[in-house]
Symmetry: C2
Subunit: 279 residues, 2 copies
């Protein structure tokens, strides 16, 4: 089976529309989203624009705030502070990657947890660890949505996550644990990775290497979610060898997989944040 | 090999003494610790008293604040607020378990992250998830201290944690990942648990069932850390069958294992919190 991200995104879109309708009935203003973009990373710009475009489609007042690449951590933090206290802003994001001279952790910690769009503030990550999923990073949540939409059993299943970042692997491990999966988190220092993937019902791969996951690492009838995004000869590919794996397992393609769902989940989070912020 | 918690606690005690000396050189006051005890759970009282006693031994001004078991969540939160703003209090804790009518999550969230003694505030759990270990829950940290003291290799090793709570299993998974272990988190819904434990270099068990982990679940020359505390015929035992397992693997006993280290780590955290709070 091919796990089609566009179909799942369409499903999340239904929730977006419904919540937006409720919002419009209740309030006379629009949800307001601001994302801070430092410098001009081209990939990051394309991604931010597509998010903004998607939000506007549903009536969100969304805007990129462009900051010069030479901005200091202090000044970026002041800008976030300004957005934090601004009653007319409901949801905030900071586009990654930030220039090297900026202290990413200090910046992320500054975002008001209630306005945090991508669940990266430590308070929200800690809530997730405690079982509260009100502000979850969008990429891990998109993985779960994919699996749930296609009714892949999570309870009691063995899940192998190949990624241990705070953006993907660690929050995703929490989400799977909340759903009664048994979770193994793997990374570059893991020994006998093949053995672990071969024993898994579900494999999530996010390593940034094309064809990292190949068919002899994957069990018959298991499920693979590919979170990788790699550019080869101007073509976007994931971390899994789609052609060979799709013959024996269910798999999400790249493009057309998790990414599409992520964008729609961010839009939904902006609406939910606006609901909470206005209360 | 027997992993002796008293030996490891002694080692942590050296750090406690050193930091306390530094504290006394720098400041003319004592670190001040307050723990809120709601009701009179006997086990909880014994545990709180032993913590207080240990702290006082090193010159910490430590006190149990006894609250009536009928106190409301609101009133408990007000009390925490009072301690949060009190400049003369550096470190706070709330003893568990709380009476059923109290909203544990709301209470924990209220503790000022800087004064949080057991790293249970979501902000601190989120910091841990992000790789910052400045406020870590004491029990998981004690597990790591045990292994590190006995120079058990963590990097690249396969770790099986049988517990998925926010107090033990989840924070412990983060600590192991920070040290390049490959981590599998198991629980009551895990299938083929034996298979998983048998493949592991290190097993941490915390399920609250005597003899839950038996020798045929454990690989030759692996390491078992027993976090269980069970009372049988007025005798304290862990979750692992110590006698049989100790013949083939390294193991920490109960009592005399993780618990002793935990108490000393809490004392150390109170001093570190005082350093940060006074700054």
């Amino acid at each position: 089976m091919i796990l089609d991200g566009k179909v799942v995104a369409k499903n999340v879109e239904e929730t977006v529309k419904m919540r937006m309708e409720e919002f419009n009935k209740k309030y006379s203003i629009k949800p307001v989203f601001k994302t801070l973009m430092v410098g001009n990373d081209p990939a990051s710009e394309i991604y931010a624009r597509s998010k903004i475009k998607n939000m506007r489609k549903f009536g969100i007042d969304a805007e990129i705030i462009q900051m010069d690449s030479s901005i200091s951590t202090e000044d970026l933090i002041s800008k976030i502070d300004e957005l934090n206290v601004d009653k007319n802003v409901h949801s905030i994001m900071v586009e990654m990657p930030l220039p090297k001279h900026i202290d990413r952790e200090r910046v992320i910690r500054k975002i008001d947890p209630v306005k945090d769009t991508d669940g990266q503030n430590p308070f929200n990550l800690g809530l997730l660890l405690s079982g509260d999923e009100s502000h979850v990073p969008s990429t891990p949540m998109a993985v779960i949505k994919m699996l749930e939409y296609y009714k892949i059993e999570l309870k009691g299943t063995d899940v192998c996550i190949i990624n241990r970042t705070q953006v993907v692997g660690k929050p995703l491990a929490m989400l799977f644990l909340n759903r009664d999966s048994t979770v193994t988190v793997c990374h570059s220092k893991t020994k006998d990775l093949n053995e672990k993937t071969l024993k898994s019902d579900i494999i999530v791969v996010a390593v940034g290497k094309p064809k990292f996951l190949i068919d002899n690492m994957v069990r018959e009838n298991s499920t693979v979610i590919d979170v990788g995004i790699n550019s080869i000869d101007n073509k976007i590919v994931g971390d899994a060898d789609f052609e060979s794996i799709s013959k024996k397992a269910s798999i999400s393609p790249v493009p057309g997989g998790v990414g599409a769902v992520t964008t729609m989940l961010i839009t939904l989070q902006v609406i939910e944040n606006a609901f909470r912020e206005i209360q």
